[in-house]
């Protein structure tokens, strides 16, 4: 556990040493502020469009931070040859995969907390309501979604040679699932065999990241999601995360390092 934590803490330190997070956070604040300064028919109560824009920026920034940070972890260790002294210590390859995942996930979590605090302050000062339960659920589900994405990217980083190609593929897969994942079963109805069966298999196989996107509920002030559904979503995310991490470790343990 100590070695896991030691590797993870290095990744977290990397996050606040690098400028990615600061740049993305400042951009989010600036763009949201710019849209917030627009007067819509002199009505100060209009806020949902601002919440939508802010949440969209948070989602984009979080995906960039999670994927870009994760994609370069193992390739950078190999390129700089720091993987050899790391594995010379009482650290197994499973520890490396686990530690890198934990570090990236915690780093993404820290960034998410900062983003969501900004979002809560923004909507609270405009709406004068503080639906903390909704925000907590949105933050938790968002973080769980990032766990799956980080694990997927980590698996990709031991599969693909270049971090850039891995990051690009992970972006496309993640955004693709978020946009059409929910509708694949509708698409199958309009397809012929064997395409229909193939899309059905994909539909049941992919991690449904869209479960964790509750922006519409937050933007339009819907009541909180049932906690039982949140708990099931947590198990679902943990199961997929474990699958991806297992695949990453399985591939990494058989891989030559040089």
């Amino acid at each position: 556990m100590n070695s896991l934590w030691a590797i993870a803490s290095l990744v977290i330190k990397e996050l606040y040493r690098r400028k990615d997070f600061y740049v993305l956070f400042i951009l989010t604040v600036l763009i949201t502020g710019l849209f917030g300064s627009i007067s819509i028919f002199n009505d100060e109560r209009i806020v949902r469009y601002l919440k939508a824009i802010c949440l969209l920026l948070i989602w984009m920034a979080a995906l960039v931070i999670a994927i870009v940070t994760t994609a370069r972890q193992i390739p950078a260790e190999r390129e700089q040859r720091t993987i050899f002294p790391l594995l010379a210590k009482p650290v197994t390859r499973a520890h490396v995969v686990g530690g890198k995942f934990l570090g990236c996930w915690l780093a993404a979590g820290i960034a998410l907390v900062v983003f969501y605090v900004f979002f809560a302050l923004l909507s609270g000062t405009r709406e004068h309501t503080w639906p903390i339960a909704n925000y907590a659920q949105a933050l938790w589900l968002h973080w769980l979604m990032l766990a799956m994405v980080i694990a997927l990217t980590l698996a990709g980083s031991v599969l693909f040679t270049a971090p850039s190609s891995n990051a690009t593929i992970c972006f496309i897969v993640t955004v693709g699932i978020l946009l059409v994942g929910r509708h694949l079963n509708t698409v199958t109805l309009q397809l012929r065999e064997p395409a229909s069966s193939l899309v059905s298999v994909v539909y049941y196989l992919i991690p449904h990241l869209e479960f964790f996107d509750v922006r519409d509920l937050v933007i339009h002030d819907w009541p909180p999601i049932p906690w039982s559904a949140c708990a099931l979503a947590t198990l679902y995310a943990l199961a997929y995360t474990a699958c991806f991490l297992l695949a990453a470790w399985w591939r990494f343990r058989r891989q030559p390092l040089n």
């Binding site: 002199n42 949902r48 469009y49 509708h183 049941y204 996107d213 509920l217 339009h220 002030d221």
Partner: protein, 281 residues
């Protein structure tokens, strides 16, 4: 081989001649981005109309608090956006049936997934209807010739939010972009009739709207008959209320030609004729 200064001079003359020729052509070219001061026009070109339609639909999605069909659900839910219909906050049974685009879940993923997005058909409360306005304003910015955007925004502004000045300002902005629009003139007339209680101004606007409609009809542009019905019926009401029965009868005669209930209109005409004969005001 000519000397370099001669070659350079020749090239400069060719450049100058081409510049003169191209400058006049570019100034007259419809795709000339320098002619437009609007950044959106320069950046998006004709695709603005596509985005304008998207943002109009986004306003409808906000009117339903996020419960809105995606492109995958669209074929099951055709029809006019509810935001463009003058309904109250409560949805009708027909709307409920039409709006049940989700149907029953087909598998456990879909059933479970419905916990995480809006799945109930609701309309915004009157006090919250302002939430649709940013998207309508953006839609109007992107496509100033989309008349429905102005009329819908003005309707919600003046009826639910009590912002009559803003409604009139937005309609006038629409009128500047669409000077022939009888829909905008009609809606502007409603602002004067229903909110400013200025029947003379409203009458002028509706008469102008009717003239525009007639002109478009004469040109064979097939203007909207529902708009025609709305103009003449409102004008007839206004004339009747202000005691100008002869003009009201004229309007009702025209309304009868498009009304699905001509007998009821005829009854109103007969009633007004009696009043006219009796000299009642």
């Amino acid at each position: 081989m000519p000397s370099p200064p001669w070659l350079l001079s020749l090239l400069l003359v060719i450049c100058f001649t081409l510049a003169l020729r191209l400058q006049s052509w570019y100034a007259a070219w419809p795709g000339n981005t320098a002619a437009s001061a609007d950044l959106l026009t320069v950046a998006l070109g004709d695709s603005r109309q596509l985005f304008a339609n998207y943002f109009f639909a986004e306003a409808d999605a906000y009117f339903h608090s996020g419960y809105y069909p995606s492109i995958f659900d669209q074929p099951q839910s055709p029809g006019r956006p509810h935001v463009a219909e003058t309904t109250d906050g409560e949805s009708t049974a027909d709307e409920e049936r039409e709006a049940d685009f989700l149907g029953k879940p087909r598998d456990w993923i879909e059933r479970f997934g419905r916990n995480f997005f809006p799945t109930a058909h609701t309309h915004l409360k009157p006090a919250d209807t302002g939430e649709i306005l940013p998207w309508l304003e953006l839609s109007a910015d992107l496509d100033p010739h989309r008349v429905e955007t102005y009329t819908v925004a003005a309707y919600w502004l003046r009826t639910r939010l009590g912002r009559v000045n803003e409604a009139e300002q937005f309609l006038r902005q629409g009128l500047r972009a669409n000077p022939d629009s009888c829909e905008i003139l009609f809606e502007l007339g409603r602002v004067y009739a229903e909110n400013r209680h200025d029947p003379d101004h409203a009458r002028n606007l509706w008469e102008l709207a009717l003239r525009r409609w007639d002109a478009q009809s004469a040109e064979g542009r097939k203007p909207d008959r529902i708009v025609f019905g709305a103009i003449v019926s409102h004008l007839a009401d206004l004339e009747a209320h202000t005691g100008r029965y002869a003009q009201a009868i004229q309007c009702l005669e025209r309304l009868k030609t498009v009304s699905p209930a001509p007998a009821a209109i005829q009854k109103q005409i007969d009633d007004l004729k009696q009043r006219l004969a009796a000299g009642v005001h």
